[in-house]
């Protein structure tokens, strides 16, 4: 698809040839994730996280389908059916813990994937649509995760649904009717639970569809790389299979190991104890918090404490939505022609400041409301907006970037002047083995 030297699919077995002539599905797969997709040879391990996100999406869909076989989406039955899965269904506990923590790992690898894109300028031309489709996936993930968290109908499920649908009531005039329409009632109840279950089952497949578009859009210009330099010729690339399947393979095995450690030995570490209490509309938990992957946004929401022209709650909701929506404009906010942060000294410093800033927002979003935390969150939230909307455009205008390598191949030269000659070939050089 992307480069002229991309290997065409050549079926060897008669059956595959027969199939290819009628339905070229193997050809599609070969060109997308097989030997037919040339990838820059210098990708580092930060490029493994896209495949990992796909892996965790698959795990979520498979475990989710099995859980749905036992789950009752009723306000009286949901909590008990989850406990029935945990106690009485064969291996139900491992499926449920895998699904619960799979969501956390899905977000973790997706966050690393997004920050890799931010650092290496993967959102820049000609990959703007890859970035935008990725953000669409991320928004769908957030919606899916939120609705999934409501399903067990524990205390945090119920009050989380109450708080998050309450965002909509911040908007004047249309807000409250909109909230009632979304919930199917004045408070989360049977109608909300059933529709959340229906959508929670639907959206992962929508995500899968957008993932296909995301990969399709990626394969037109081909993958970016740590230098940000365009691929110039065949020597700059390696076929995806076997090189990157092997690299992704061992890395995925290692991440699965970390996932297994959490699922089997600390399955409730990332959760909240209150969600093991059945939902009770009459008793508000003292400390309502979303799951950890929403903490930075929750911190932004809570940082607006003053009614200034608009009510504080509306400011918070607008800021929270804006904090994600502004990422859609990133390709046009950062106009620097240099993609990779490695060659942008000023950008690099601000990037790491942003990483620290988001971690602080995460901490504040999960912590109790105390004067110090609130103040810290306000400073961090202000930096978040200034970073993307003020600092980044200015940096891209005034920054003096470092010289780029001539090519990808030149950037990975290890200084070997001589290569050992392959069997039977006289290259005219001394046949000494070069140690790296």
């Amino acid at each position: 698809m992307s480069f002229s030297w991309a290997r065409p699919y050549e079926p060897k077995q008669p059956f595959m040839r027969w199939l290819d002539e009628r339905l070229p599905l193997p050809r599609l797969v070969y060109g997308a994730i097989g030997g037919g997709y040339p990838v820059p040879r210098n990708l580092n391990y930060w490029w493994n996280f896209g495949v990992l996100a796909g892996l965790f999406l698959t795990i979520q869909i498979v475990t989710g389908i099995v859980l749905a076989m036992w789950f009752y989406a009723t306000t009286g039955g949901a909590f008990n059916s989850v406990e029935h899965i945990m106690r009485d269904v064969n291996a139900g506990w491992v499926i449920r813990y895998a699904h619960m923590n799979g969501a956390s790992f899905f977000f973790l690898v997706t966050y690393i994937h997004i920050f890799r894109g931010l650092y290496y300028g993967s959102y820049k031309a000609p990959r703007e649509l890859v970035w935008i489709l990725g953000l669409v996936i991320y928004l769908l993930m957030m919606a899916t995760a939120f609705m999934g968290y409501v399903l067990p109908w524990g205390q945090m499920s119920y009050w989380g649904a109450q708080v998050i649908t309450g965002f909509f009531s911040a908007f004047p005039v249309v807000g409250e009717p909109l909230r009632v329409w979304l919930l199917g009632g004045y408070a989360p109840d049977q109608a909300a639970l059933t529709r959340f279950f229906s959508l929670h089952y639907l959206l992962p497949f929508v995500i899968m569809g957008v993932v296909i578009l995301h990969i399709w859009a990626l394969h037109i210009p081909g993958s970016s790389n740590p230098t940000g330099v365009d691929v110039k010729d065949e020597k700059d690339t390696l076929p995806f299979h076997p090189f990157y399947t092997a690299k992704d393979g061992w890395f995925a095995a290692m991440v699965l190991l970390a996932y297994a450690l959490v699922v089997y030995f600390a399955p409730n570490y990332l959760g909240h104890p209150d969600n093991y209490i059945p939902a009770n509309p009459l008793s508000t938990p003292p400390h309502i918090v979303p799951e950890w992957y929403f903490w930075p946004f929750y911190a932004i929401l809570r940082s607006f404490t003053v009614d200034f022209i608009l009510p504080a709650k509306l400011w918070g909701v607008l800021a929270m939505f804006s904090s994600i929506l502004l990422l859609f404009f990133l390709p046009w906010l950062d106009k620097s022609p240099v993609r990779s942060g490695s060659y942008r000294p000023m950008f690099k410093r601000f990037f790491w400041l942003l990483v620290v800033d988001v971690l602080i927002l995460g901490y504040v979003g999960g912590a109790e409301i105390k004067p110090f935390n609130v103040a810290l969150g306000q400073i961090a939230a202000a930096y978040y907006f200034l970073h993307f909307l003020v600092i980044l455009p200015l940096v891209s205008k005034y920054e003096k970037t470092l010289p780029l390598p001539a090519s990808i191949t030149a950037s990975v030269l290890h200084g070997e002047e001589q290569e050992s000659a392959p069997a039977g070939v006289n290259t005219g050089n001394k046949t000494t083995t070069v140690a790296r």
Partner: protein, 310 residues
Amino acid sequence: MVRKIGFLVGLAFAGVLLISLFVGVSEYISSPPAPTAEEEFHLAPKPLHLASDGPFGHFDKQQLQRGLKVYTEVCSACHALDHVAFHDLTQLGYNEAQVKNYAGSGNYWKTEVPDINPDTGEASTRKALPSDHFPPPFPNEVAARAANNNALPPDLSMIVKAREGGAAYVHSILTGYQNQPAELIKKFPTAKTPANLHYNPYFANLNIAMPPPLTSDGQVTYDDGTKPTVDQMATDVAAFLVWAAEPNLGTRHTSGIAVVIFLLFGTVLAFFAYKNVWAEAKREVIVTGPLDPVNKAKRKSASRKAGIKG
């Protein structure tokens, strides 16, 4: 255009945040929040070590049996255990006959299960069967509150998972009852423990509705000769509640170790496969190496000449 609008939006949000910060800080300085009794006197749970802790942890069945006895004779008067069935008790080392005897003989478990009279259809009760879940002590929330000064004793089947601190929290609550410190009343005269509540520094707001359930050593007689001190009974019932919250914990640990060993093995194999696949590509980065299309062609023809297939 995008950048101009962005610039203004960014400054607006940052501006409102700085106003919020300024207002918050000046409020804090003009009227700093008063310290509360909870902040100063609430204690984190005391450390508790159980056989089920850690990645290799498994339940100590003797201890679970003692804990069941404490639950049966003390806790079950007020607290339900909704999610546990009598037949689950076989996991504590009892055989079928013992479970049947425990549930239905009336010697151990006394609360009966709601039923209907098979002849008249009127509401009645019957003795529990192994297939029943533990019947609750009160038929509904109103009855439970009416019997407990309007406090609702929570269901205990998931209490260990549903409280920060887990088993250690349960143990600390059970052993943490004490007289309210004079210091506290002196400093916070309004925070005096109200009548019908009991001072317990391990409880979030320091005053718990539950009267001390374990009051004296020997309150429960253990069959295995363990000395039933208050601390021992609290530890045993906490261990029992860990089991009640997650009966599959032992299986989880055992299978977890198998999965981790499997994945460790798989990761190492996959890593060497990766090293193997990349060996040539990593070494060959300059144009004269084996991946050079020219050299590839040369190698192919050389192999063919030498009679090597592949």
